[in-house]
Symmetry: C2
Amino acid sequence: MTRLNLLVGGPQSQYPSDWKKLPGAWVGVDRGTLHLLEAGITPLFAVGDFDSLTTPEHQLVVNQVAEIHAKADMDETDTDMAVRLAFVEHQATEICLVGATGGRIDHFLSNLFMPTQPRFATYTNHITMIDAENFIQFYQPGHYQLTALPDYRYLGIVPLTAVTHLEIQGAKYPLHDWSSAMPFSWASNEFIPGQPTQVSWTTGVVAVIQSRDLRGQQLDN
Amino acid sequence: MTRLNLLVGGPQSQYPSDWKKLPGAWVGVDRGTLHLLEAGITPLFAVGDFDSLTTPEHQLVVNQVAEIHAKADMDETDTDMAVRLAFVEHQATEICLVGATGGRIDHFLSNLFMPTQPRFATYTNHITMIDAENFIQFYQPGHYQLTALPDYRYLGIVPLTAVTHLEIQGAKYPLHDWSSAMPFSWASNEFIPGQPTQVSWTTGVVAVIQSRDLRGQQLDN
């Protein structure tokens, strides 16, 4: 298995605290490349035009990163391009995005909807997105058995597209044969301790979001 | 015009800095009710079971707020219920959500997708969502002329659902007759100074996101 982690240009305040310990090599996307180098991690490759970097920052990236790709197609984002290169050119079998949430919502939604693009359908089930509070997986139609991550309390089942015959079984709030032309977030569900949750549907792309309150958090979420 | 602002339970770090100056009366949703009272604002009504509040906090809410609604239907979120009551019972003509972004992504997506619910179709074009960096409007199919907000640099055109015949004209990056079964975020577009942008489409719900870098921000977005 070749797992690659992509560090995207979202706000560092949203990174998971243990992001540097994630298994696998790293890929830098735009400003994420600089944050990798600052953390002492040399990315396998980087994508971006780096036009938001200062001249010394840009020089650091050029000196340290052996493989740099500048975007040729305006309709493909830097993140899209990095995902494509990771799977197609670098034979990744799993990718994990960090720095893909928070900040500008148009950017976040571009990342969130990326796994629904038909050209990535083969890869949808192998894409994960992690931030400080959320662990997101993406799935094409099928039957799945979900198990709780340690320390993640909540389970969101989120059709990002039209969906048919969605079932949730074995969780706190079951759902039977639900279809919708519109996206919808079935938020705040929970695993039953020691028991897997079964989900299935026949068409559409669904995000499975495990989330938690931040350590010591007593207030908003 | 009766404009109501809803303060939802998302993280206070994401509130726009000038949120207390927004025109119109306020509605508290769950913990947002407490934040309103702490800011010296008495909400017109509040929605929630307030089970995350301490006993003194709960007592404060009960003492101060004349109209409190506890949720009866598990399939309707507190925010959904507050939106319904604002439009249907309190004859709001515009509503603005604050505290609807950040934190748990299942909650955020529940808020973001709310205006796509068919039962809210009459109200979609009258819902706005604001946070520190983003100003989001929601629209049913039609022809719209968009104008730049002061200090917002970026324009995201985001089909949240399947969309047909989307056109963007008069912006930095035009788009011609684009249709998709999947959601997609056309991120990082920009207004041309002094010129409105025209957008149109024939089916689907689209979010228009104006965003900005935070004041003094030189780094991530």
